[in-house]
């Protein structure tokens, strides 16, 4: 839309995948909105949802999307599946990178302003049983992480790349490892911003 529209500036800056769309931002965004509406037809969606790439949706249960939720495109399509009798809730301005897979057999809830990176798997059912997954606000789940049934992730936490989360992660913490253990986020800040 406009240059100053926050979410698109964010999407461009954060993932750098919108760069190739800079020539025709308006048309691309319009296409993304149409694609998202087509994919999520029959679901409860907020205003302005965007799908910049292919999204495969199974909406047998109830999917509730907030405003300005966006799905970025990439090599592998994103999958959003909500089976019969299940509830999938995604908060405002949450973003999903390519290849993410969200499966709800009972209940999956994702908060506001979450960043779900590429190839993340969120599934609330395994052969051992089904348990709801609750992801708080402002959570960043990094590339290739797996969120298992019963996981509860607090607000502002970060799940590091490749981790497997099965239990409870407190707010403002860093989940790391397989199975994931929680540690303070500030430790990570020191490491991430280490000079080269």
């Amino acid at each position: 839309m406009r240059f100053g529209h926050r979410i698109h500036r964010e999407a461009r800056f954060v993932y750098d995948r919108m760069r190739s769309d800079r020539g025709a931002p308006l048309a691309t965004q319009a296409l993304a909105r149409l694609r998202a509406l087509a994919a999520f037809r029959g679901c409860v969606v907020g205003e302005r949802i965007y799908a910049y790439g292919p999204v495969r949706v199974v909406a047998e249960g109830s999917i509730i999307l907030g405003s300005r939720v966006f799905f970025l495109g990439g090599m592998i399509p994103t999958e959003v599946k909500c089976f019969a009798g299940a509830t999938l809730t995604i908060g405002d301005e949450s973003g999903f990178n390519y290849g993410a897979s969200i499966e709800a057999h009972k209940r999956v809830s994702i908060g506001h302003h979450c960043m779900i990176a590429s190839m993340v798997t969120i599934c609330d059912s395994t052969a051992d049983g089904t348990a709801p997954i609750v992801i708080g606000d402002n959570v960043w789940i990094a590339h290739g992480a797996t969120i298992q049934p019963g996981a509860v992730i607090g607000n502002g936490s970060v799940v590091s790349a490749g981790s497997v989360v099965a239990g409870e992660i407190p707010p403002q913490s860093l989940a790391l490892g397989n199975p994931a253990r929680a540690m303070k986020l500030d430790v990570m800040r020191a490491r991430v911003s280490r000079p080269p």
Partner: protein
């Protein structure tokens, strides 16, 4: 009569030749996604095997992705460079591997700002298992093997085996952990000479 897959291969190869510095006898299969204005250097006899899933090469402004001779890249692999990603001679990268030299977000504080990049270096004859993840600052010494699904964040000595999330050194060739024996190199990777 060429198959559709053959046409896709030719298109990918053409795209790569237009976009990157490519050596001799490079093989490209399946889809190839190249993004960003940066520089891509590809050595001789490199195989980009994107038949199962496309390969992504993402080079930010002023960034470099350099693949040495005889490198094999599996399908679904994504290499994202904001500064530099270097892969040495005869290395083999498995399927769905992710290599990034920037976290793209601060873990704490302002999420929309980028932390500084730390170049990723993969030396010669390294083997990366499928779904391995290399994070900024990873430096794999010569002949290192990375087990499938591992997450490497730091420097790994030559001729060692690493596994786990985050990856730690494992005993190799009947020795205790703490790095391999440089005088006993690993077998050459399969198909390196082809």
């Amino acid at each position: 009569m060429p198959l559709v897959a053959d046409v896709l291969d030719w298109m990918s190869a053409y795209h790569l030749r237009r976009r990157a510095g490519v050596g001799r006898d490079v093989v490209v299969r399946g889809g190839l996604w190249i993004r960003g204005p940066g520089r891509i250097e590809i050595g001789d006899r490199v195989v980009l095997d994107g038949a199962t899933a496309p390969i992504e090469l993402h080079v930010g402004p002023g960034a470099v992705i350099a693949l040495g001779d005889d490198v094999y890249i599996g399908g679904g692999t994504s290499i994202e460079a904001q500064k530099a990603v270097t892969i040495g001679l005869r290395s083999r990268v498995g399927r769905f591997v992710k290599i990034i030299d920037n976290h793209f977000h601060n873990a704490a504080g302002k999420r929309n700002e980028r932390p500084p990049s730390l170049p990723v270096v993969i030396e010669d004859e390294v083997e990366l298992g499928p779904r391995a993840i290399l994070l900024p600052g990873a430096h794999l010494g010569r002949g290192t093997r990375v087990v499938a699904g591992s997450v490497v964040t730091r420097r790994v000595p030559p001729f060692s085996l690493v596994s786990g999330v985050p990856a730690i050194l494992r005993p190799l060739y009947g020795q205790s952990a703490g790095g391999g024996n440089p005088s006993q190199p690993p077998e050459p990777p399969e198909g390196a000479a082809s």
